[in-house]
């Protein structure tokens, strides 16, 4: 098969992460997501394409962006900073270049898979020494399956261990191809009730649960990442249901990582000048999480908080 250069949209590459898989990880955050979770912590990761996002707090009101914008997409409200009309914006980046104060920032870089791999490879020594590797996360990485496949395959070929952090909502054909080069799957389960899943995340969970079963049956090591979202999925019934589901998946399951809700994303939404649709109050206390840990421990070999 002829090799075409594969490219995709990368939001960020973070190094020496310790929360997204074993050892020190280089985490590649891709842009674009199939889901629309109300509590989303990475609103900049939702859309599939590069976009200009304002950091309203940095704006000094100099008005340079208004002057350079060819389509009139940028407006600056007094004290509120710049706003961008996405219908008009052509992502020409003139405003980003013009802004001296980092108040308009481009999110999402188009990168070749080989460029990503080169960045990942910089950290290979510490991956090998720590039993770490690369983690592809998002957004939802499976929104760009060919790109993920190319990165994973190349990393494997260079002796770098790979992990996929996915919500599971992806065509099985795509997942199956990627799994060939995946050492570890980190799989989100947000809600066992299909209706509620649709209500809070925009899609049902049938495909997700089906994919979880298929991955497990292939024997690819899998960890389940379960966010605890007060007011959405935080019910004993949901936890019981999830724990039993996971228990039935067999030996491929390494454990469960509970991810208690925290309000840190609020700051990000404010900076972007967006309303946070899920301002669920304070973060969860240890006492709130303890019974959930106990419950899962009855069904799975290992439970961690925070991964």
């Amino acid at each position: 098969m002829e090799q075409h250069p594969v490219f995709g949209v990368v939001n960020d590459i973070q190094r020496m992460c310790t929360c997204d898989g074993p050892g020190f990880r280089t985490v590649v955050f891709l842009k674009g997501c199939y889901l629309d979770c109300r509590w989303c912590h990475n609103p900049e990761g939702k859309r599939r394409f590069p976009e200009v996002i304002p950091y309203v707090g940095n704006c000094e009101g100099c008005g340079e962006c208004l002057t350079v914008c060819p389509t009139g997409a940028v407006t600056v409200d007094d004290g509120l900073g710049p706003r961008i009309d996405r219908g008009l914006c052509s992502t020409c980046l003139q405003c980003v270049k013009a802004c001296k104060y980092d108040a308009l920032v481009l999110w999402g870089r188009i990168m070749l898979a080989e460029q990503v791999v080169a960045e990942v490879e910089l950290d290979k020594m510490i991956h090998v020494n720590s039993g770490g590797g690369v983690t592809i996360s998002g957004g939802e990485p499976m929104a760009q399956p060919d790109f993920v496949l190319a990165i994973m395959a190349a990393c494997k070929a260079r002796g770098i261990s790979t992990a996929l952090d996915t919500c599971g909502h992806a065509p099985w054909e795509d997942l199956k191809r990627v799994l060939e080069y995946t050492d570890l799957v980190m799989f989100d389960i947000k809600q066992m009730d299909g209706h509620k899943h649709r209500e809070y995340s925009g899609v049902g969970n049938e495909l997700i649960l089906e994919n979880a079963k298929r991955i497990a049956s292939l024997g690819v090591p899998i960890r389940f990442r379960i966010p605890i979202i007060p007011g959405s999925n935080d019910s004993t019934r949901n936890w019981e249901s999830a724990a039993r589901f996971i228990e039935c998946l067999g030996d491929a399951v390494l454990g469960v990582d509970l991810l208690p809700y925290h309000p840190f994303a609020g700051g990000k939404y404010r900076a972007f000048g967006m309303d946070y649709p899920y301002p669920g109050g304070e973060g969860l206390a240890d006492d709130d999480v303890a019974p959930v840990i106990d419950l899962f421990l009855k069904h799975v070999p290992e439970v961690t908080v925070g991964g």
Binding site: Q14, R15, M16, C17, T18, C19, G23, F24, K100, L122, D123, M125, I126, N129, S130, G131, G132
Partner: protein
């Protein structure tokens, strides 16, 4: 039953506190009552944001006692005159015993006092008049005493004498304060100490001196010849050594007498009474005779350190206490079971507190450079024995555990890591780091042993005995390896190298021609020509500092004189010389400390890329912007900050330049020779010189403006400029050879504590350390405090007295550091492990 519940409760709350990372409270709850009392009762002597704590006063008794005897002995050879004066001080200085303490000795006459050393430089002495708050009451009377002292010592201090023979041009340039700091005299210095020799006991040293004197006196009765003549000078030196050794023994016995008097007539608590009698017995025994147990060895050690600081301002504390005291710990705790582990820990913890308590007055500029502490007292732990086997012992572990219990910011530890270190010891290092102490710094032992052999030709067995001579530089603790005097004035403000290359040797900040005229860079045809100018400025800057220091060094026995240090230096005792006399066989271990070093590589890379390779700006434009301090050129400045290659990103463009600069310096380091005819390698590190020099270094092509803090030091990348993460930093630093390309290289790493919790945290740290070692780096130190804590500490310093952070070569309590340094620390890239 009730007791058991209380214990469980206590255990639980310690765990909870640990979970919240409230380490000061954890220490409070877990340390013994004695350590708690001693720790809380100790006076803080380091300056807080450049100012001393309320209640701290300088001690006037010491200089008065010294000076009255000194004047009486006028006309004697300097070493003898000084020996009499020191003996007079030791016989008459008030002494005290702190409740519950077991280790004796203090420099000064009361625990709240700091020593004002007056023999160094009269210009600095006079700064005392501007020091509010530390002049003892009644102030008027004290000022009169000070004036009398200053009137006498004016013109008579070591540097005053040196200044008369210095080249006047060198002197003026040095005094500008722009290129380096320190005083070229052992009036402000530090010395390596060989405890295998010292622990023979002062009586044995006295016997050896006596023997030498008799032998020499006999020779003097022989046939007259030129060979006999130098012997006449030796006799008074030996006599001086005798005088201070005898006075030292008497000084210890004064403590013995006081302890015995307290025990027999005043103490009503039978346990304390017993302790006081043991103290009396200990102080009667040491330093006169060799120590027999842990308390005696620690006491002997502390007396030696205190006595050395009665003689002069020793600003560092080269020591390897786990190696020195390990055998006594083993004997007492493991073999003879005289002490329980807890009792031993009390002694070790107090050793740290007694050291922390030592206070010596420093002028404002030095306090700014060494914020929060009296000196850079880095104790060396771990490492190997002369035969290459692992030297870690139970005492290594005891010191690490005690450090977490007493949490003092000084001394700190530097750990000699090597592949044979046992996991249990490595875990202790990690626990200290995790507990936010900021130490131990980790040193790569095989690399540094090789480095010590490479630069000075120390035999490998001797190199393996090394201790941190100050913050960073290894020095063997052997007869010919010990360095009696290290002068901080070989400390170069390296950013001036690039600044002078840009300005034809002219200093636009202090407004004078400093370096050689290397030409107007606007006329240079290519980068090579520019780099050539940099090399010339670099050589000039090192030369002027090294010249001055070499001169100060050979003149020191004549201008200052160190009877006590000589008496504990084997080669000085053997030859009847001053310990600082380079002719007595010292092998040489000199280095130039390189402050503000990385600015050179980043600036050269910016010039190479933007002016010569891409021709994006002309040299004219750049000079215009620099001369305007970048004012009015903000867009261009940001381009230089953001788009020029920066050190620490695994980018060969700039990393190659760094390597090239280091190789030029290392070549020159072998052309510069010390009085022992040995080399002068560079050692990049900053202490907090990056703040001190902020107003003395002009605008630079890395985008820095006059007044901006410089990079935080050594080979650490500029704050926020290491965009590619910690591995890239390590890889950049691994591109040059840490054996042959310089003496040692300081690297700061901020680690996020939340990510390093639990067993996983330890395994990750170990993986980091393995990578560091694989790349052959010689140093790394960790700062484990998170930003939120630091910000909170700025707002509410009262509540965060215990927060310790790493500032370059040492650790200090965060709240004691000036606001500017605090901001700088927070701004350092958090190497987010997560």
């Amino acid at each position: 039953m009730g007791q058991r519940t209380a214990q469980t409760e206590k255990a639980l709350s310690v765990d909870e506190l640990a979970n919240r990372r409230e380490w000061w409270s954890v220490a409070q709850k877990t340390r013994s009552k004695r350590l708690d009392y001693l720790r809380k009762g100790v006076w803080k002597k380091g300056a807080i944001g450049g100012n001393y704590a309320p209640g701290i006063k300088i001690d006037l008794t010491l200089p008065q006692l010294f000076t009255e005897k000194w004047q009486e002995q006028e006309g004697e050879p300097i070493m003898l005159q000084k020996a009499h004066a020191i003996a007079h001080v030791l016989d008459n200085i008030p002494i005290f015993i702190t409740d519950r303490s077991q280790i004796m000795g203090y420099i000064g006459s009361a625990p709240h006092q700091i020593v004002w050393h007056w023999q160094g430089i009269s210009m600095v002495n006079e700064e005392i008049y501007n020091e509010e708050g530390i002049i003892p009451e009644p102030e008027e009377e004290s000022l009169e005493i000070l004036a009398t002292l200053n009137d006498y010592w004016g013109g008579r201090t070591a540097v005053d004498k040196l200044a008369r023979i210095l080249d006047p041009e060198d002197a003026v340039k040095f005094m500008s304060g722009a290129i380096g700091w320190g005083t070229p005299t052992s009036a402000a210095t530090y010395s390596t100490k060989d405890f295998t020799y010292i622990f023979k006991g002062f009586e044995a040293l006295l016997a050896e001196i006596e023997e030498r004197m008799e032998e020499t006196e006999q020779k003097l009765q022989g046939n007259p010849s030129p060979q006999l003549l130098p012997l006449y000078d030796k006799l008074p030196r030996w006599e001086a050594m005798q005088i201070v050794l005898e006075a030292s023994i008497r000084y210890a016995k004064r403590y013995a007498r006081l302890a015995r008097t307290l025990a027999e007539h005043f103490e009503s608590d039978p346990t304390r009474k017993e302790e006081l009698l043991r103290i009396a017995e200990t102080c009667e025994r040491v330093p006169a005779k060799p120590p027999r147990n842990l308390q005696e060895s620690l006491q002997f050690d502390h007396f030696v350190q205190v006595l050395a600081r009665y003689e002069t301002f020793e600003g560092a504390w080269p020591h390897r206490p786990d190696y020195v005291h390990g055998p006594y710990y083993d004997k007492d705790v493991n073999q003879e079971k005289r002490l329980t582990k807890e009792e031993a820990l009390d002694l070790v913890g107090e050793h740290l507190i007694r050291t922390y308590e030592v206070g010596i007055f420093a002028p404002k500029w030095a306090r700014e450079g060494l914020q929060g502490i009296t000196g850079t007292w880095v104790w060396t732990m771990g490492g190997v024995k002369p035969d290459g086997s692992d030297a870690c012992n139970d005492m290594t572990i005891a010191y690490m555990q005690a450090a977490r219990l007493v949490r003092v910011s000084n001394p700190t530890f530097g750990f000699r890591w090597h592949p044979k270190v046992k996991d249990e010891v490595l875990r202790e290092c990690f626990e200290c780091i995790r507990h936010g102490l900021g130490y131990p710094s980790m040193r790569n032992d095989p690399v540094l042993v090789a480095n010590t052999v490479h630069w000075y030709g120390h035999p490998v067995e001797e190199a393996r005995t090394w201790v941190h001579q100050a913050c960073m530089s290894p020095c063997p603790t052997t007869k010919y390896g010990c360095q009696p005097m290290r002068m901080a004035s070989a400390t170069a403000n390296c950013a001036k190298m690039i600044e002078y290359a840009l300005h034809d040797g002219y200093d636009p900040v202090v407004n004078m021609q400093m370096g050689p005229k290397t030409g107007d860079p606007r006329q240079f045809k290519d980068f090579e020509e520019f780099f050539g100018a940099w090399v010339k400025q670099m050589e000039w800057l090192r030369n002027i500092l090294v010249r001055t220091v070499n001169l100060g060094r050979v003149k020191d026995p004549e201008f200052f004189g160190r009877p006590f240090l000589s008496a504990i230096y084997e080669r000085a005792v053997e030859t009847g010389t001053d310990a600082c006399d380079p002719s007595n066989g010292e092998r040489g271990n000199a280095w130039v400390t390189g402050f503000t070093w990385v600015e050179n590589a980043d600036s050269l890379a910016a010039i190479k890329k933007f002016v010569y390779d891409e021709k994006k700006y002309t040299m004219d434009q750049l000079m215009e912007a620099l001369n305007a301090n970048w004012v009015g050129y903000e867009e261009m400045r940001l381009d230089f900050v953001k788009n020029a290659p920066k050190w620490g990103n695994d980018d060969d463009y700039v990393d190659d330049l760094m390597v090239r600069c280091l190789r030029e310096v290392s070549r020159h380091a072998k052309e510069n020779k010390c009085p022992s005819n040995n080399n002068w390698p560079l050692l990049p590190e900053n202490v907090s010189g990056n703040i001190h020099y902020a107003n003395l270094v002009g605008a630079l092509p890395n985008g820095r403006r006059l007044g901006d803090a410089l990079y935080d030091g050594g080979i650490s990348p500029g704050p926020g400029l290491d965009k590619k993460g910690p591995t890239a930093v390590l890889k950049s630093c691994g591109k040059f050879d840490h054996v042959t390309d310089g003496r040692a290289f300081l690297l700061n790493q901020r680690l996020s504590p939340t990510q390093l919790s639990g067993e996983k945290g330890y395994q990750l740290w170990k993986a980091y350390m393995k990578t560091w070692a694989d790349l052959g780096l010689d140093h790394v130190q960790f700062n484990m405090v998170d930003d939120a804590t630091l910000r909170a500490a700025q707002k509410d310093p009262e509540k965060y007295q215990e927060v310790i952070v790493r500032v370059a070569g040492y650790s200090a309590h965060f709240v004691d550091i000036s606001r500017k340094t605090q901001d700088n620390i927070i701004q350092r890239t958090v190497q987010g492990l997560g």
